[in-house]
Amino acid sequence: MTAAAEPRVVRRETSPVLAFLGRRLLGGLVALFVASILIFAALNVLPGDPASVILGRNATPQAEAVLTKRMQLDRPAAARYADWLGGFLHGDLGLSAVSLAQGQHETVWHQISGPLKNSAILAAIAALFMIPLSIGLGVIGPIYSGKAVDHAISILSLGAIALPEFVTGSLLIGVFFVGLDWLPPVAIVPPGANPLDNPSELVLPVLTLLFASLAAGVRMVRAGMTEVLQTEYVQTARLNGVAERRVLWRYALRNALAPSVQVLAQNLQWLIGGIIITESVFAYPGIGTALVNAVQNRDVTVVQSVAMLIAVVYVLLNLLADLVVMLLVPKLREPA
């Protein structure tokens, strides 16, 4: 259909990048909106009265009545949802349900801001290693396809992907603490302190996080690279004498990067999942630990806000990935 069409003129009126991002942003916002409804519904509408759930063994009728009032559970769910979402949009995450049960007025933000920062640092360090390593290791495989390096990478990544984080973490502790006594087995970061102040404590958590997500990344980048190496443009470049290194970098890797970016974004999202487990293994005071504790305590306001924040991070990561892909794929920079 396009064969006979004249080359399209690049229009200048609206930047297609912005238009695309705008569309994605809108889509993301809609997704987040629906997500907020789901989160709220899961925590407030599903069976189990929040007040009695939070109080647990102490749920005497009096205590329950008091907490119901404090949490405003007597108001309709829709109104509470509107309050919560409105507050969230203004950066007000509300009060912790558990602290309300204790007669306190602790804000959710106060409870999670520290852990959030710690987790962000942990994830950032892991990502810092993961992205170049996944690309590097993923690219080496197909280049040395069928050679020992390729097999070694394949087998190692397969092994790493097969182990859940808590097993990897335990094994790493077994080797580097119990066995060699090189690295501390837990990462206790005092509240308010910077996790980077004590880098040796971060080594094992970062390694644990890297292990699983790196393996997944390597496998997927490898698949992308393999596919690109079979494309006709790589073949054509080679058959016209373009230097092999240039073919690999400018033709193969450059084009394998776009799908890889999406893969890496997925991996970063994986990382967020992995962080919940990893933090628990290393007693790292991050958002994962906070979330698990909140779930165990049935602190619904904390859970819903943390869930929502993570969903936002997720959507932002997707958006960022889209942006990078747009920059890498010229075709996407133009109106459809």
């Binding site: 259909m1 396009t2 064969a3 443009y233 054509t236 092999e244 010229p330």
Partner: protein, 598 residues
Amino acid sequence: MSAVAVEPVVRVENLCLGLQSGEPVVDGVTFSVGPGEIVGLVGESGSGKTTTALSLLGYTRRGIVVRGGTVEVGGESVLGRDRRALRGLRGNTVSYVPQDPGGALNPSMRVGDAILDVLRAHRRGGAAAESVRAALERVELGRDPRFAGRYPHQLSGGQQQRVTIAMACVCDPPVAVLDEPTTGLDVLTQDRILAELRRLRDEDGMAMVYVTHDLAVVSQRADRITVMYAGRVVENGQASDVLERPRHPYTRALVEAIPDFRKPRALRGITGVSVGVGEWPNGCAFAPRCAYEQTRCHETVPVLEETVPGHHVRCLRWMELDLQAGERSNGRAAGVAVESAPLLEVSGLEARYRSSRSGAPAVADVSFAVEQGRCVALVGESGSGKTTIGRCIAGLHVPAAGTISFDGVPIAGTARRRPLEVRRRIQIVFQNPFESLNPRQRVRSSIIRPLRVLRRLSRAEAEREVGELLERVKLPARLGERFPVELSGGERQRVAIARALAARPDLLVCDEVTSALDVSVQAAVLELLQELQRDLRLSMLFITHNLGVVACIADSVLVMDRGSLCETGTVSEVLAQPSHDYTRRLLAAAPCLPDGAL
């Protein structure tokens, strides 16, 4: 060769290539290309033509190894060279133009840089930008100075192919290998590219090896033609010699299978299927399909013999056979008597793409009729909307406006809303034979389904009829037990036709049914369709982009351009005296054999 006094730029001597497992892929191929010569390397799929051509670049596909012979390009031996030496050779001494220009350009690289990359690989310093501009100018892309800054997706298919040609000639190599460079392009663009190549040869003296499965494409542009079959060269000579006086039965059959709108005639397909790697028979590989085979053909592999200087043939019987005076029928057998009431009437049809956001409809205000027993061809380039019309008639695409009447009664847009009888009487055969049969079902089940659904036959009755239907499309009944993957493209298309016939239709919509087939197979399928139409008094709407096919099969023709009909009339009128400019251009560009050919 002796006609060319100077040293050839390509010399292939007894080249043998094989799979690692041992089966030969290319056997004893010998040919040469003189400076500035265009050689067409022709053969059906699986004939080893591409493998041979790529060996000029010192490239073999994974799993293929060189078993013997020599390949010299520009005086340098190619085989057995290390990667570094080969890289110096490629693009500089011998360059490459790929088949699919869309896929052959790095999507993330501006076309100027792509050309520059080839240049940089071989030339250091100098006015690189100037060379790039010169290369673009040579392929007539240099007018816009911003062109070099465009990305591949911003170009049309023809422009993309010209860029790959520019890449191939930026270093002025004496030879270029072109691997089916116009397959997938529409007729008009193909014609322009071919003219371009010819001009490049004329101006710069670049020799070309042009690989194609379509003899017609190279018939008017090549200096010499090399025909390959089952890994061997079967005929080789001056283009005019080969086309006018083919010595090999295969070549002759190929020529005869080419539908030519200027000389409409009954096509004759080659029986059987071309042999694949690993199934070469003893003796002459073509013998099983050859009309002139004898016992000895199955015993000895013939050698390539020189008939006249510069013309070689590999046939035991070339001397005894007179292949020139082929019987020529005068086009299509006389059409069945026209009945007044049209079977199908389309009026004011308008259709839109589902996803299309732009206002332009895919088909606008199209009206025509198909009378009982007639074959109406619907012609146009890809994207002209012809397929959409066929789909509307089959009930697969809901028209936005207009009516479709069948046997005088307007019918619904979706098949499910039509009465069973209408659904039975209208059948469609699709373009791609590889996708038109359910790979998970045996041929038998595919054919039984319409018998059961549309004709309400019992299982036993249906089972009985399968054999008859297969016979009708000239397939052995045992094929019913096979899965589609075990069939060739031509066989699959016959099964698809049998499936349509199972409904005992009155109207058959054929959507580009031969465009994915090799020319020889296409001829056989067309032959079958003609016969069916005659015997079963079928009406046909035949959708195609090939004017040669139209001339062979249709009674009248509808020409489509960008969604609307631009010309209608009987085949002879339209092809002889096109009134619309678009039709004229289409005719001018359509590949056909040179006047002298057979």
